[in-house]
Symmetry: C2
């Protein structure tokens, strides 16, 4: 249904919506948690950062975090940035002149389904996705990934303990 890019984006943003909104999260941590190609995920995150859905910080202590409130970003907003979502609007039989007026044989059916789908995506926020994931048994967490990657763990400012 969605492109790989959109799938990765939805999953990454869901995880970012689950953790401290101030915290910078590494691409490598997200890739590890989601089990997706790290370089490709990086491209996706960069695109989302250009669009304002994410903020990015270069250099040491850098990473990505949400650029907007998870209540203000819908699943539709995410997919729209990465997929040509207007293709959902076009004729499912590929006709050139298919509209409500001159409908192809599948137009009414497709319009019903598609509108239902798009409405649901518009009404589902990153907060919704994060809350669902939070309540899901056995769902991994970024914190767990970090504790399993000691070479990536960094003491926060003021934390002097070093094991």
């Amino acid at each position: 249904m969605f492109s790989q890019a959109s799938e990765y984006a939805l999953r990454a943003l869901t995880e970012l919506a689950r953790c401290d909104p101030q915290e910078w999260v590494l691409t490598s941590q997200l890739a590890k948690l989601l089990d997706v190609p790290v370089h490709y995920l990086a491209k996706v995150l960069q695109t989302l950062a250009r669009r304002g859905i994410l903020e990015s910080q270069r250099g040491r202590q850098g990473g990505f975090r949400l650029g907007m409130s998870p209540d203000d970003v819908s699943a539709y907003d995410v997919v729209r940035e990465l997929d040509d979502i207007r293709s959902l609007e076009s004729c499912i039989m590929g006709e050139n002149d298919c509209s409500d007026d001159t409908a192809c044989p599948l137009h009414a059916l497709w319009k019903t389904i598609r509108d239902e789908f798009v409405d649901a995506l518009r009404n589902t926020t990153l907060r919704d996705l994060a809350d669902f994931q939070e309540a899901r048994p056995g769902s991994g967490r970024l914190a767990a990934v970090k504790s399993k990657l000691p070479e990536l763990r960094r003491p926060g400012p003021g934390a002097a303990a070093s094991g």
Copy 2:
């Protein structure tokens, strides 16, 4: 939504369901009517012929015609031959372990929409598509294409008039 191949197939089969089931129709006639690439359409039709949805006849007076009753072929049957329709069954967020038991945040939504869509495709026959198209104002007909392509027009056996 569907691949180009499926779109071409649905449209071509709809037209074939509108005309004499005994008549052999040329790829070039269908391509002209649908305004699609003739060679690519030919590949699609050949695939459908291998699957039994179409019959084909080589040589002069050859062409394609339905291999089954238009009442017995659903839109789902057509798309299944050309697209990997199982991708509709897989997780919309791309998760590996997403099922009714361990559902991703969009699972319930997607399952509802997808089932509704697939059921509708299963319950829509080529006859339905053809009937709709038949009642549609301004929908082209294969007969019209043939009369506009005199070089393709062939007298039927016993038809001697050539005026």
